[in-house]
């Protein structure tokens, strides 16, 4: 068939279809190549470099040189004086890294869930206002947030002063609760104190990632079919029962995902831990920084600590994923 100079075939024109197919294949292939280059350039090469450095050797009083020694790893797990003596100092730091990150991630998600759920029940306009506000708080750096909490929790001008001046400290002493706080490390003989403490560390870390938790949970909670909630109500479920039996199970996967993401993010928290954690309870992140840029200047050992942190975090994520799948199958 001919239409004003152009030939239009009635049947399939394989001769011309083939090049377009090739272009499609070429497009897909180039996409894969770009993806592979990005993964290699942004993740594999830096990790390989850190991994290689972790086997390097520190030269006393100088820099380090490439080598293949495992002493950095043995120092991490059993201490520098092994086999004469054993020290679990760095395993302890690793433990605190996971301890703070896990509690803070759970706390942030636990606080973000009811807030986000109530937010999604509001008008679209109000939701937009809240989201803009939350996104703006995300722009605050860790240093800025920690500075604020530092003032709030400082013994002379923050909450402890408020406790003392308002008579709350005296009341706590009278009722015997003061001793409970002292046993928990949240009071000195004169007044309550939050610096340094696990509570202050964890609360500040949770505050840091709370906006992220809200933003991560928001899509799932806003997509919940409202008629499911109403259906549960008509079947006799009170509001709390509706949340427990309908809302929470419906968003369990986003909740688990958000918790794991924030947990991994919090493993790298630096400023909060340096300000609020007791020296004996500081994390591997601090130790890594000191080894690479700080006082000790031992890049191979810092790299070994980073590798252990990364591998342990990976194992944790794998275990969590497996646990979630196992729980899903048991349902």
């Amino acid at each position: 068939m001919t239409v004003t100079g152009y030939t239009v075939s009635d049947g399939p024109d394989t001769g011309r279809a083939a090049p377009s197919l090739d272009w499609q294949q070429a497009g897909k292939l180039s996409g894969r190549i770009v993806f592979a280059l990005l993964v290699t350039g942004l993740a594999l090469i830096p990790f390989a470099l850190v991994f290689a450095i972790s086997f390097g050797q520190k030269i006393e009083g100088a820099d380090w040189h490439w080598a293949f020694v495992v002493e950095n790893y043995s120092r991490f797990f059993v201490g520098i004086a092994w086999p004469e003596s054993v020290s679990f100092l760095y395993s302890q730091k690793l433990f605190y890294s996971f301890y703070y990150a896990a509690i803070a991630a759970c706390l942030a998600v636990a606080l973000a869930f009811p807030f986000t759920y109530l937010m999604t029940r509001q008008s679209r306009k109000l939701q937009a206002v809240w989201l803009v506000f939350l996104l703006s708080t995300v722009s605050l750096s860790e240093v800025f947030v920690v500075m604020g909490w530092d003032v709030l929790l400082s013994n002379r001008s923050g909450l402890p002063m408020l406790f003392r001046e308002s008579g709350a400290t005296a009341w706590l002493k009278e009722t015997g609760w003061f001793q409970v706080l002292r046993d928990a490390g949240l009071a000195n003989p004169r007044n309550v104190k939050f610096k340094t403490s696990t509570l202050a560390t964890v609360v500040t870390m949770a505050y840091l990632v709370w906006p992220y938790a809200v933003i991560l949970l928001y899509p799932a909670l806003s997509r919940i079919d409202n008629s499911m909630i109403e259906a549960a109500q008509t079947m006799g479920a009170k509001p709390v029962t509706v949340i427990r039996t309908v809302v929470l199970p419906s968003v369990r996967i986003p909740i688990i995902g958000a918790t794991l993401l924030l947990f991994v993010f919090l493993l790298g928290t630096y400023v909060t831990v340096t300000v609020f954690a007791a020296p004996a309870q500081q994390t591997l992140t601090i130790s890594i920084y000191e080894a690479i840029r700080g006082a000790t200047l031992n890049a191979p050992f810092g790299a070994a600590q980073a590798v252990v942190l990364l591998v342990t975090a990976g194992l944790c994520l794998l275990a969590s994923g497996g646990l979630a799948r196992w729980a899903e199958q048991r349902r």
């Binding site: 079919d225 008629s227 499911m228 109403e230 259906a231 549960a232 109500q233 008509t234 079947m235 006799g236 479920a237 009170k238 029962t241 039996t245 309908v246 199970p249 419906s250 369990r252 349902r331």
Partner: protein, 357 residues
């Protein structure tokens, strides 16, 4: 179980929008009532207020003399099937059905037995362990019905329960649902915008428009004796002819049409006449019996055993429904006579401009 009574129920949303306006209704025990009307007429809002999901801004809801207006949804024990079915995707079929029983604290063995009984009732006994995502639309609807019935509800409410189903399945389910309701004898209220669905299932139809009830009655009464032009246009099809009253007859653009009973209007009053398509007769020859309008055929449509013949009677569109064999001599463009029998003519005041969308 006692009657459900609505007394002056109103619902006003922000901005002065009245979704439901002073509705008075009584739902008799064991009866299936259809709330029928176009989108936005307030039927779903009324159902939600009955369920306790919305609070009326005026009026009272009584069940057996007990005022339940302020009783929250979870304490009413009304089963409800939602338009989207609202099944819980994180639970399997059996757990969905047993949800209300679990909430009520029934032990696992008893609620499992009850769920199995209900699944048997809706012919899904073999689907107990299936996930919701593995079910078809019809199966989901049955699960939603079984789930709503699990708590032995005092009132059974259904909000457009067939709208998510295809045409064939919808017709089958209408019959099934009606049989199930008759078997259980439960007071049931169905919201629908489909007049065929309402006619198929309901003992009584409540036709609603703009937040008010237009007419309440059995399906045949609503169809044969519509109370307003709106009801006549919304329930089935009708030919409408505007005219003025002259000595009990009505003068229209097509001629004078007589009624069985003289129109109860003063001379010169504007009125609308309505005649159902199946009561309108078309012939190529005049019957010489009056009540005839000259027209010509514009379109013929086959609808199964019958045909719809579309006519133009001097810029007045008319539709006639007749058996296929009776319309063999008709063709598009043919000059014909439309006969509107006096006994089939309904007359409404001419200022009733409301017609169904």
């Amino acid at each position: 179980m006692a009657d459900l009574i609505l007394r002056g129920i109103s619902k006003e949303f922000g901005g002065g929008v009245r979704a439901v306006d002073s509705v008075d209704l009584t739902f008799a025990n064991g009866e299936l009532t259809a709330l029928l009307g176009p989108s936005g007429c307030g039927k779903t809002t009324l159902l939600r207020m009955i369920a306790g999901l919305d609070t009326p801004t005026g009026g009272r809801i009584l069940l057996g003399g007990e005022d339940i207006t302020d009783v929250p949804a979870h304490a009413r024990r009304f089963g409800m099937v939602f338009q989207s079915f609202a099944l819980f995707p994180h639970l399997n079929v059996e757990d969905n059905v047993a949800y209300a029983l679990a909430i009520a604290g029934m032990d696992k063995a008893r609620r499992r037995n009850r769920a199995r009984e209900l699944l048997d009732l809706v012919q899904l006994a073999d689907y107990a362990s299936r996930r919701i995502g593995e079910l078809s639309g019809g199966q989901r609807q049955r699960v939603a019905i079984a789930r709503a019935l699990a708590q032995e509800p005092r009132i059974f409410l259904l909000d457009e329960p067939m709208s998510a189903l295809d045409a064939k399945l919808r017709e089958d389910m209408q019959v099934e649902l009606r049989l199930l309701q008759q078997k259980l004898g439960i007071t049931t209220i169905v919201v629908t915008h489909d007049q065929r669905e309402a006619m198929t299932m309901a003992d009584r139809i409540v036709v609603m428009s703009a937040g008010r009830t237009e007419q309440v009655g059995p399906p045949q009464e609503i169809y044969n004796r519509p109370a307003s032009r709106f009801v006549a246009s919304f329930i089935g099809k009708a030919n409408f002819l505007d005219g003025t009253v002259r000595d009990g007859a009505v003068e229209t653009a097509g001629g004078v049409l007589h009624l069985d009973n003289p129109a109860p209007f003063r001379n010169g009053a504007p009125v609308s006449l309505a005649c159902r398509p199946e009561a309108t007769h078309v012939s190529t020859r005049s019957r010489q019996a009056g009540n005839e309008i000259a027209a010509h055929v514009t379109f013929i449509r086959d609808i199964g055993p019958n045909r719809e013949v579309f006519l133009d009677a001097g810029n007045m569109p008319l539709i006639c429904e007749m058996r296929g064999s009776e319309s063999d001599d008709l063709a598009v463009g043919a000059a014909v006579f439309a006969h509107l029998p006096p006994e089939a003519l309904l007359v409404f005041p001419g200022d009733q401009t409301g017609t169904a969308p």
